[in-house]
């Protein structure tokens, strides 16, 4: 074994991305982006702040914000990849187009992997992280340092994906990485290994997140906040957390066994040696289907908050919504087989899973009607979050109906593996998950940063997302029914061409939607003084997160609130006792910042990169660093710092003075600069 191989494993000059202009361009963008970030941080002297206030922070609000930042960065990359694929299909009628088949395959693999694991997951985990402890009247999650470690593991996975743009080629096996294609015999490169380790890192992080959220919701609720008084978003977060605890291990097992096949020559999923690839498919979808509901339930929670707040009404059918969300969580474990109806298990098994799949439509339908009824006779304001919610309501119903079609094994045999399926899952994931998360972003942004987002650009963006989605994905239903297989790099069928052209136009609109989101952020930051809502309640909110300043103090609540019913803050407002002054203040213990998270993150990247490229010393070093960091952390004696009562009292009184000086505005002025975050309660 040569010295080079010992030091650098399989890494060589041929790993550099010069195989196509697009790959070179993408890699340059990553490198330039990284350099600009580093230069910017150095120029503004922000390294110390970044380290002390953010990277080592264990505050659930900051961790939540960092998750969302990861999600938005990864969204940008994966959306551009989607646009490239749509452009390729638009021009590849009877010719090769501008992407090689291999590059095209990399694109659909990274697009899917990123959108699921590094866009949707961090986005929803970030939102839950920020909102849930505030809604249950807690000062933090149960295990703040573990929370930071989870973030670091997700970030490490995302970092591996970004590195894969610059060094080596990514997997061409799709986001689900089916063997035997992803076995070493057919995918000898490092791509599948990048995929395995990026997923493994993030799935371990997500398991820990689920554990953390579940314990937090069970154990840290404010006095009086019984389960059936919890905001629906908290219910959704609880179900999501439970799903994470039970559904992430199958993914860990699937990727680990695939890794054993690739690294140790085992025969779990190979063609020969007694391997059985159906085991992989079962394991993967045992994770994959609950994962669908991990994605959608938090969005359901967000929409429940949005419909209720922007209709100035309590949720219609609260109990039925709770039962529905729980029913969905349980049923989600009973339908995984519908992802492979065509793989030979026979009609009886298929029909059982087909029926189970259709059953999920029932609780989902209950929810849709409950949301509509919530708006009925409400004081409805068409603010940006509600616009997303309305778009969701209609488009998600369409996506759900195409899902019911696919749940019928007979129909599935006709359209499986066509772009009909692509249309279906984008139809539930974009209006469902993405719109849900964007609604959450607009709804809670003022809480996180103390100013609202620009309303006009928000409307433009919402219109672009909706129109772009419709144009990009409705044609795929038609194309799928015509028989266009998914993941097709080029075709010779003339009838496809008009539809792929329309879809490409939709993709362009989606790119414009992303751009308008960025413009909105810039515009809002520049006008932050006019958009400021320091009093903390810009939307006449109904739950406890709106009862504190914006942004909230590090300890969230100066004194822990008492809850005596559903919609705790709305009750206080209607009783004209919105901000009861506490009789006394106490010292507050908060966890100290910890370097454990960043250490594990660095260790994770080193271990993942080392394993991918067979650089064994680096992988070993990463593993040792991770274990050593955990052990070292267990010897840290001072893990808590105390904010004394006088400081808490001073900060709280300053905010109360601000409350007294701000004008209370009614809902007509919600989007005007007069709205400083003090709501005049609606007469109900």
């Amino acid at each position: 074994m040569s010295l080079w191989h010992a030091l650098f494993g399989k890494l060589g000059y041929d790993a550099l991305p010069f195989y196509s202009a697009i790959a070179t361009g993408a890699a340059s963008m990553v490198v330039i982006g990284a350099l600009v970030t580093v230069a910017g941080l150095t120029w503004f002297g922000a390294w110390g702040t970044l380290w002390r206030e953010w990277l080592t922070s264990v505050d659930h609000k900051r961790i939540g914000i960092m998750y969302v930042v990861i999600a938005l960065v990864m969204l940008s990359r994966a959306l551009i990849e989607g646009c490239l694929m749509r452009a390729q299909q638009a021009v590849a009628y009877d010719q090769k187009g501008f992407l090689t088949p291999d590059h095209f395959s990399q694109l659909f693999s990274t697009h899917g992997t990123i959108m699921i694991f590094f866009m949707a997951m961090p986005f929803l985990i970030g939102v839950i992280n920020f909102v849930m402890p505030l809604q249950i009247g807690a000062r933090d999650v149960s295990f703040p340092v573990l929370n930071s470690v989870s973030l670091a593991l997700t970030a490490a996975g995302a970092a591996l994906l970004m590195v894969s743009l610059c060094l080596g080629k990514f997997s061409t096996g799709g986001w689900s990485g089916y063997p035997p294609y992803t076995e070493i015999a057919y995918s000898p490169g490092v791509g599948v290994d990048y995929w395995i380790w990026a997923l493994s890192l993030s799935s371990i992080g997500t398991t820990m997140t689920g554990l953390n959220f579940a314990v937090t919701i069970y154990k840290k609720r404010a006095p009086g906040l019984t389960l059936m008084r919890m905001p629906l978003f908290v219910w959704a977060a609880l179900c999501t957390a439970i799903l994470m605890v039970f559904a992430m291990p199958p993914l860990t097992v699937a990727t680990s066994l695939l890794a054993l096949d690739r690294y140790a020559g085992a025969h779990f999923f190979t063609n020969g040696g007694g391997g059985n690839m159906m085991n992989y498919v079962n394991l993967f979808w045992l994770f994959g289907h609950p994962e669908v509901y991990i994605l959608i339930l938090p969005a359901f929670g967000v929409f429940s908050e949005v419909f209720s707040t922007f209709s100035a009404k309590a949720l219609y059918g609260y109990t039925s919504l709770v039962i529905a969300v729980m029913a969905i969580a349980v049923l989600s474990f009973t339908v995984w087989l519908h992802h492979f109806f065509t793989m030979g298990q026979g009609a009886d098994v298929n029909s059982a899973f087909g029926i189970a799949t259709m059953l999920i439509g029932i609780p989902t339908g209950v929810k849709i009607y409950d949301w509509i009824a919530t708006m009925y006779r409400g004081r409805v304001r068409f603010s940006v979050p509600l616009l997303y919610a309305l778009a969701f309501l209609i488009l998600f119903a369409v996506g759900g109906l195409s899902g019911i079609l696919l749940a019928n094994p007979g129909v599935d045999y006709q359209v499986h593996n066509t772009v009909f399926l692509v249309a279906h899952f984008h139809n539930v994931i974009i209006p469902g998950v993405l719109f849900g998360m964007l609604a959450a972003y607009h709804y809670w942004f003022p809480k996180a940063f103390g100013f609202r987002l620009d309303e006009r650009w928000g409307r433009i963006s919402c219109a672009l997302w909706t129109a772009g989605f419709l144009l990009a994905f409705m044609p795929l239903y038609v194309l799928g029914a015509m028989g266009l297989p998914r993941r097709t790099v080029s075709y010779t069928e003339a009838a496809y061409h008009p539809w792929t052209l329309i879809a490409a136009g939709g993709a362009a609109l989606l790119f414009a939607a992303l751009a308008s989101l960025i413009i909105q952020l810039v515009v809002s930051i520049r006008h932050r003084a006019a958009l400021a809502v320091p009093a903390g309640d810009p939307w006449d909110g109904r739950n406890l997160e709106w009862s504190v300043a914006a942004p909230p103090p590090e300890y969230n609540f100066a004194t822990l609130p008492h809850v005596d019913g559903i919609d705790a803050f709305a009750r206080r407002k209607s009783a004209h006792d919105a901000y009861p002054a506490p009789p006394a203040y106490e010292d507050i213990e908060i966890p100290r910042p910890s370097a454990l998270g960043p250490a594990i993150g660095i260790a994770g990247v080193a271990a993942g990169f080392g394993l991918t490229w067979h650089i064994w010393w680096m992988a070993g070093l990463g593993l040792l660093l991770a274990i050593g960091a955990v052990i070292a952390r267990s010897f840290v004696r001072e893990t808590i710092e105390v904010i004394d009562a006088a400081t808490v009292a001073a900060e709280d009184r300053a905010w109360r003075a601000l409350l007294a000086s701000e004008p209370a505005v009614d809902r007509d002025a919600e989007c005007a600069s007069a709205n400083r975050g003090l709501a005049l309660p609606e007469a109900v």
Partner: protein
């Protein structure tokens, strides 16, 4: 019984009025139970994988050739004994025996665990020597994955025991040992207790998983 008395954990001696420490313990222990549940799902899937692949020999050697009942029986005995000695470590912590006693039982547990791991390595080497390495067939792969994952858990558990022996040695395990810095010290001792309780759960959990492995992999494989 008062509310706080009913919340008392085995192995922990908290004052009756020490509500904060008890709530914290509750949260930690509950979180660890959830972790164990998640870990159990992982083992369940490895068992299921083994179940589907146990006859997939691909012409290679089967359990009759590869497994040694004697070795597996010794492993079982060692691991069960180690669970017993760890139980004694927990009890001597609860009854505030001398630090040496706690450390002694933990040390014995560690030795038994190391003996188990040694035998397991011997098993793996002998399987490979007999032509049943991990890369031979789906059956050997599934065996190595399931038994190896358990072994990896025992390895991490042993490392954890070492760390805890150091912490018990440095910090002690009795709340009332030192009158100086009493409050801060008590917090540290509480932390040691909490960690010992979680380690105990982990160690006993591995026992239960091993009983599954012994029954299904070894006895199931060798039964005619």
């Amino acid at each position: 019984m008062t509310a706080s008395a009913t919340r008392r954990h085995p192995g922990l001696n908290l004052d009756h009025g020490d509500e904060a420490a008890q709530l914290q313990t509750e949260e930690l222990m509950f979180g660890f139970w959830i972790f164990l549940m998640s870990d159990l799902v992982l083992f369940a899937l490895l068992f299921a994988t083994f179940g589907t692949l146990r006859h997939a020999l691909a012409g290679g050697p089967g359990p009759q050739t590869l497994f040694e009942l004697g070795s597996a029986a010794k492993e079982t005995a060692l691991l069960l004994a180690s669970s017993f000695t760890f139980g004694l470590a927990t009890l001597s912590m609860k009854h505030e025996h001398a630090t040496g006693a706690v450390l002694g039982w933990m040390g014995l547990t560690l030795l038994l665990g190391a003996g188990f791991l040694g035998l397991e390595v011997h098993d793996f080497v002998s399987m490979t020597d007999k032509g049943g390495g991990i890369d031979r067939s789906a059956f050997t792969a599934a065996t190595f994955a399931l038994v190896g994952t358990h072994g990896l858990h025992v390895t991490f558990g042993s490392l954890w025991i070492v760390v805890m022996m150091i912490q018990v040695g440095l910090i002690g395990h009795r709340r009332d040992d030192s009158p100086t810095h009493a409050a801060g010290r008590r917090k540290l001792v509480d932390r040691v207790h909490n960690r010992m309780l979680r380690l105990a759960l982990f160690w006993h959990f591995l026992d239960i998983v091993w009983i599954g492995i012994f029954s299904f992999v070894y006895l199931g494989g060798l039964a005619r």
